[in-house]
């Protein structure tokens, strides 16, 4: 009698309930938000203000970052304190394109971006060569963060740097990158970075409809990455990642080499950040080296932690909670924002190891049990 060895059933990407929630989210982003913002008159109670569109668009970019961090931290157990670099790199690639789109409308009426005229440069440096093509920019948004992550990750994972060591080294990386980008000679506008964008693909950037397009694109990217993440963590690849997180040595003894797995997810995560950065820059209208400051990257990690690691919906919720609180508190009580953020760091690590999602599940579990 032979008994078939049954492999565990591959879980569905989303449950039936999940799919309906996903469709609702898709409709909200693609139909409801544009409708409320552009069609509903401004004095109506249902009108979505331009400010809210900008804010939500920004937070959705952050949510993509949180998702990326969750893949590498929550599912693979590698805490990166350097994801700000990838975010900023994507942003800078986009920023270069937007700077070229300004054309001769800058203050100095020159073909070169204003800051280059200011530095008395006569021609574009080599790394600006591809920046006038939108297609090349789209390619570079993926390629630059991906390449940097690949090189850094290859050397780091190959010598089996892990745990806190890895976190500290990534922090040093973002610090070094920030110093580099602060220099005028690097050719990225130094302290001031890029700003004063005028057009994207020849269309004026500041109109409400353009903003809405960017908003919808960001929303689609977020939802797309979410689905991708669901698919990834349920795949065999994702299961190996989780095994690496839980017991790396055992994975090695089972005949897997962790290096390609870690490297792949690391590069994927970096690319997601790059895309988020590229969507972020046209919406907020500025990119400068302070995006790479170590503090920013640590804050990104807390978005994932607040929402709940290793649950893909958690980081998205976390990004919304933390950044929503930030934009509210920094206006209404700026002196308390750091207290709040600090307390959040401490509170979440001490009392909510599984974040908000973990808390909800626990409460629901209790409710069902009783």
């Amino acid at each position: 009698m032979t008994e078939a060895v049954s492999l565990p059933q591959r879980p569905a990407v989303l449950t039936r309930k999940g799919w309906s929630a996903f469709i609702v989210a898709l409709l909200v982003v693609c139909a409801l938000a544009p409708l409320l913002n552009l069609v509903v008159p401004q004095d109506s109670a249902f009108h979505l203000s331009d400010y809210a569109v900008g804010l939500l668009g920004k937070i959705m970019c952050y949510a993509i970052v949180a998702l990326a961090i969750d893949l590498i931290w929550g599912y693979t157990g590698i805490l990166s304190l350097g994801h700000g670099v990838f975010f900023a790199l994507g942003g800078y690639v986009m920023g270069m394109y937007l700077m070229r789109q300004i054309g001769r409308d800058g203050n100095y009426k020159s073909d070169l971006p204003d800051f280059m005229v200011f530095l008395d440069w006569k021609e574009l440096p080599w790394h600006w060569a591809l920046s006038d093509s939108f297609v090349a920019t789209l390619f570079l948004i993926v390629a630059v963060p991906g390449f940097v992550a690949f090189v850094f990750g290859y050397f780091a994972f190959r010598s089996r740097i892990k745990g806190v060591y890895f976190s500290i080294i990534t922090q040093a990386m973002t610090f070094a990158a920030m110093l580099l980008f602060f220099r005028n000679e690097t050719g990225f506008g130094g302290n001031n970075g890029f700003t004063d964008f005028k057009r994207i693909m020849g269309i004026t950037i500041a109109t409400p409809s353009m903003r809405m397009v960017l908003f919808v694109l960001t929303g689609l990217a977020l939802l797309g990455f979410y689905l991708f993440g669901r698919w990834l963590v349920a795949s065999k690849f994702g299961r190996v990642l989780q095994a690496i997180r839980d017991a790396e040595t055992r994975v090695m003894f089972s005949g897997y080499s962790p290096l390609p797995y870690k490297l792949t997810i690391w590069v994927i995560s970096a690319i997601m950040c790059g895309v988020a950065g590229a969507l972020y820059v046209p919406q907020v209208g500025i990119i400068n080296p302070s995006e790479m400051s170590p503090a920013n990257s640590i804050e990104m990690a807390i978005w994932a932690a607040v929402g709940g690691r290793a649950t893909l919906i958690g980081p998205i919720i976390g990004a919304f909670i933390v950044n929503g609180a930030k934009s509210w508190l920094t206006v209404s009580a700026p002196e308390y924002w750091l207290y709040f953020l600090g307390a959040l760091f401490i509170g979440v690590t001490l009392f909510l190891p599984n974040g908000v999602v973990g808390l909800v599940r626990k409460l629901r579990g209790k409710g069902e049990a009783s």
């Binding site: 806190v164 976190s167 500290i168 080294i169 580099l180 640590i298 990690a301 760091f345």
Partner: protein, 524 residues
Amino acid sequence: MIIRTFFIALALCWGPAAQALTSAEVQAIVVGDTDARIAALGQAVANADDKTALFIQALVDDAVKVAGDKVLIVRDGKGTDPVTGAEVEVPASVEDVISNNRMRGEFDTALATLRLFSKNAKQRAEAVKTLQGDADESKLAIIEKALAAETVPAIKTQLAMVRAAVLLSSADKARRLTATGILATSGNPEIKTVLLQRQKVEDDAEVKAAIAKALMQVNASLAWGDRIAAIFSGISLGSILLLVALGLAITYGLMGVINMAHGELMMIGAYATYVVQGLFQKYLPGAFDWYLLAAVPVAFMASALMGAALERSVIRFLYGRPLETLLATWGISLMLMQLVRSIFGAQNVGVENPSWMSGGLELMDNLQLPWNRIIIIGFAAAVLLGMAFLIGRTRLGLFVRGVTQNRPIASCMGVNTARIDTYAFALGSGIAGLAGCALSQVGNVGPDLGQGYIVDSFMVVVLGGVGQLAGTVYAALGLGVLNKFLEGWAGAVLAKIAVLVLIIIFIQKRPQGIFAMKGRSAEA
């Protein structure tokens, strides 16, 4: 007092030949066009007496007034006649003497020339320094006289330099050549300028060649000074890094706690120093110079208590979860920064150096080692020795090492491990406070003080190897010197980036740091 010294010195030098300051000279120095005034000043200096010094000093201090054709010195509302020294009444309407910058420069030089005869060697040395670079031929006679009278060898050499610098523009070719020969032995940037200036106007080929050769020699000795200065500033930076990293060597190296709030504990130490300074200013202004001695233990205690409180309230629950510790301590650091901002304001506060720490040790003409840096190097060494003793030789140190190596066994032996953790963390924090106290003497004290050091200090600990004091020391000094050398070669920012990249490459080769721990604790 100084004036009296002048008087005696002048009396000794000049003897009976000295002529007194006359009212005609006084008039000529004060009134007229600048050239004439400078000529009169030169004459007065050549025949100087104590009154001349007093008078020129008064001119420098803007205390000389003119009333009609009378010139008088007015200090604190009392008038004196510059020639007789007798007290005179200040007339109702007096005019200030107006001196342009060129005139003021001449006053300074004249005063320095007169001080060449001061009895106080320090004053003479300073006078020689002032004269360097701006003495001219009119002062030659006086400089030679002073040279003959000078007894201190160091000042004599300097004075000879000044004389040679003057002679360099002499009309006599032989004198110019000798002067060049003397100047070649100097290592002073001002002499270099003098030589360069002469090189431009010199038309005699032989002298020109000699000057070129002399310049090479001067440059060589200047380069030495620069090199030593670079090494010194490297060691100085290294000593600061060492102070910062020593605390981390305990909390991270021994206990394995990633304390991102370490920089903020340093900041607390710096602010404690500021508070002590304020208290001394208010209650003990007489002993203000010694406030720093009181600030050292206060800074230690303030940070240590804060560290103990943090350990008890937060960190204790996170042992064995380094990533969570990292995030929680980052949160603590944010709160501490905001706390300090709320109490002391967001601006930097001023912490003064006590007078015994200002100034510096002058080793060469272009090499001055500031006292505060030297003292911090010594302080870092003392803290290091103290810590090595504490960890290596005391009962507490034994317990700390025991708990680090094997917690359950240490516990079985009756060590209260929880309490040892608190003590060790407080110790590491206290050392951070000491580092902050030291930093307050060389840098700005503000809420962001700790942020600038946190990456560097973790690099030191990572590079030095976990659980190793010796590694921390070598890594701190090595990074400091390397940083400063690269800085001279590529600029501050690129140097920092290069160092970070080098560390990342180094960690590839030796993930355990320079000095890897051997034995079982290595894998822990």
